[in-house]
Symmetry: C2
Subunit: 117 residues, 2 copies
DNA sequence: GTGCTTGTCAACTCAATGGTTGAAAGTGCT
DNA sequence: AGCACTTTCAACCATTGAGTTGACAAGCAC
């Protein structure tokens, strides 16, 4: 209940069925029944998965005629990417900086180094 | 236990505490005690979180002197990014193609061809 | 209207998760 | 050896999550 929005997004994608739904929706909108068809689970279960995706903001269901379409929202992907890139780049930048330091140490002096690798 | 590896990664990052750990580890390796310090939970709980991150491949703990360092692995981030980008781009490409079709309909008024690929 | 299909809600089961405490191994230092 | 610190294992509890079945509400066709 208290999960922040990023947690909801990651949690939503932690389930293989939901990732598969997202994958299929990337090919185009679908109704709940179309979505449910390949899975060996009840329609209600699929509907529940849909709710999870919806609450994570990964999917919207614009109102319309009876077979309502499920639509994939790509905006949330950006938020995930931002998070991932932020820390990946930070770690990699730090790593290359450390590399520089180690190299400086080797050329500078101190042949006492513990073989890190 | 039967979760595939992508599921484990997403599930690992679905927890705010674990995301915070990853964020902090992106600033440099840390011992478990250092990692645990800001949280109001038992050390054992932190170890559990660490295990989850470890099994997701997000973190390694190279052997060494007693307070073993926890190290962030950035490689897994690529796998996540691959997945995200794959379906984001697919959806956006489809969207722009649809856009093109719609525009063609408006300007042309008779779109007879659709099988683009 | 009657009926069929689609979509939704609710209650229930069962397994997994996040947290706890307590105890036991390892490891390092003197 | 002995002591302190780090790490892990096990049992337990509360909450969430994925799935089920059953029933109910809308929409569309006849």
């Amino acid at each position: 209940m208290s999960a922040d929005s990023l947690s909801r997004v990651f949690a939503a994608l932690a389930d293989p069925t939901r990732r598969d739904m997202v994958a299929r929706l990337s090919d185009g909108d679908a109704t709940v029944n179309q979505l449910a068809e390949p899975y060996r689970m009840s329609l209600q279960a699929v509907y529940k998965h849909l709710r999870v995706l919806e609450e994570a903001g990964l999917v919207t269901r614009p109102p319309g005629p009876q077979p309502r379409a499920v639509h994939l929202e790509t905006e949330v992907f950006d938020r995930m990417n931002d998070w991932i890139e932020r820390y990946r780049s930070r770690a990699e930048r730090r790593f290359s900086r450390l590399d520089t330091v180690l190299e400086a140490m080797r050329t500078d002096e101190k042949p006492e180094g513990e073989g890190q690798q």
